[in-house]
Structures are given as C-alpha cells and as structure tokens.
Subunit: 164 residues, 2 copies
Amino acid sequence: MLIRQATKDDWDSIWPILRRIAADGDTFCCDPDITDGQAYTMWFPPPPARTVVAVADEGAVVGTAVLRPNHGGPGAHVANASFAVDYDHRGHHVGRRLGEHVLALARQDGYCAIQFNAVVETNTHAVALWMSLGFTVLTTVPEAFHHPIAGYVGLHIMHRTLSG
Amino acid sequence: MLIRQATKDDWDSIWPILRRIAADGDTFCCDPDITDGQAYTMWFPPPPARTVVAVADEGAVVGTAVLRPNHGGPGAHVANASFAVDYDHRGHHVGRRLGEHVLALARQDGYCAIQFNAVVETNTHAVALWMSLGFTVLTTVPEAFHHPIAGYVGLHIMHRTLSG
C-alpha cells in the first residue's frame, strides 16, 4: 500500500468512499445526502491543506485523508484531520497507515498539535486507533451526534501534541 | 438598542468591526489580514445560519453575531455562534444582549445545545459573560491560540444545553 498526495483525478475514486460513509450516517458529521460538489469542496480545501490517498498494491484507492489547520490565524498551528476508509477494505490497517502518514505530514508542515473535533464515541474502532497513536480524549460533547441506531451519543474531542 | 436580522446592506457597517478584531489578533481565530470577501463568506454562511446586528438608538451597528450548525448532518442539532462588538461600544452590554438574543434564536430554531469551539482563555471578559449565560468550559485545548502578547494560550470549548 502506497500513500501519496491526491490529485483531482483521484476524485472519481474518493467520492464513492465518502458517499457511502456519509449515507451510513454513523461516523461523519456531514449531510447524508451530501452532493458530489459539496463533498469535493470539503475534501479538497485550499492550501495549506493537503489531501492524500491510500492506494492498494493492485492500484485501487482504498482510503483517503485530509490535513488542514483546525482554525485560522492565531489558531493555525493546530491541525485537524479527517479520514475515510473504503468499506470493503476495512480491517487491513488502512486507517492506521493513513493516521501515521498524516502525523508525519503534520510534523513536516510545522503544526504543533492535531485536534479531532468530532470522533463519534460509538466508533470504538476509531477511538482505539487514535488512542494507540497517542491521542487523548480532551472532552466528550454530550449528545452531540445523532446516531441512526444508538440515538444521541457523544462526540469526543481528541488531541495529540507533535512536539517531541 | 435593537437586535435584528442582518442584510447584505449591513456589511459596510459589519466589516470595519470584524476587520479591527481580526487585526488585533487576540480573540478571533482568523487571519489578521482577512480580506473583505473572506470575512463576508465567514459572517454570512448559507441557511440555516443566521446573522444578526445590534443597532444603537442612533442607528449605528455596534455589534453582530452569527448562529450556525456546529457540524453537519447528524451533528447539526448543536449550534455554534460567533460574536463581535465594535471596539468603541464595549462596556455597554452589547455582547450580553447579543448572547441572550442568540440563545433565544437557537431555541427557536430547534437546536439542542450551543457549542463554542475557540474562546481564548485570556479573553476573560468573554469567558465570564458566557459563564453568566449558563455555559460551562468542557475543556481547554492547550496552547491552541498564539496571542500577540501572552504567547501560546489555551482555547476553551464552551457548551450550554438548551433544553429546560
């Protein structure tokens, strides 16, 4: 598996991954009916943001991530990142590889920390992954996510410093 | 003082307020050199967001606020809001009046809670105001804001439920 910078040509491979995750409605804070154009704007923000794809040995895009400043101006030294792994390629450490890659990119870009604003607490696989990569849960915003099965559940705000 | 929905015609009054606060760099997480167009996009997001202005008795716009969903889709029942008060009209409860108005609007729009993502911890006036209006500090993201005098300071994430 290779992780490389995404180009506009990758969008036709990225969009089905995002569309399915958005439609499932259990991990992403975006409209389940998000359009192609809205999703493209969300996933390809302007620089200094970076979008990457994970490409399997056979050439298929199996995951993707975006790294961007979490806030502007005086808050731009803290990064934010979003991740998406193709449903049919889960359980093969794509998320972990993307996470490690994004941590390295964030360090390279000079960010001091990474903050996730909305990790759904029932997404225990993601929570465990981020904790294994050094993130801590700063707080859990109560009932901030309406899960299709579990109802109102919390959103973890997770954080990891990049110094040292 | 009247608080009413903002229109595009108010932008010429709002922009100088935002420009100065952005340039001061001590409370807003946006580029100190933000352009007119970028600021307009930030302050007039599409519906269901709402932008309001506080208008003094003599007709001058002395403050403004934006209410919007903090996240999309399954997170859209939690609101976010931003506030700006004209430098020359501080100390006259403009912020408090805007805060009370936005809380009422958020209830009216059916939001279950309001979350602030980036209240600078050295902005003690704002922190005290929000606490007096029922907000609590869920967490403080360490060193997440580069203050022009105080250096790296924390960003409070503040929250208030709207039920009951």
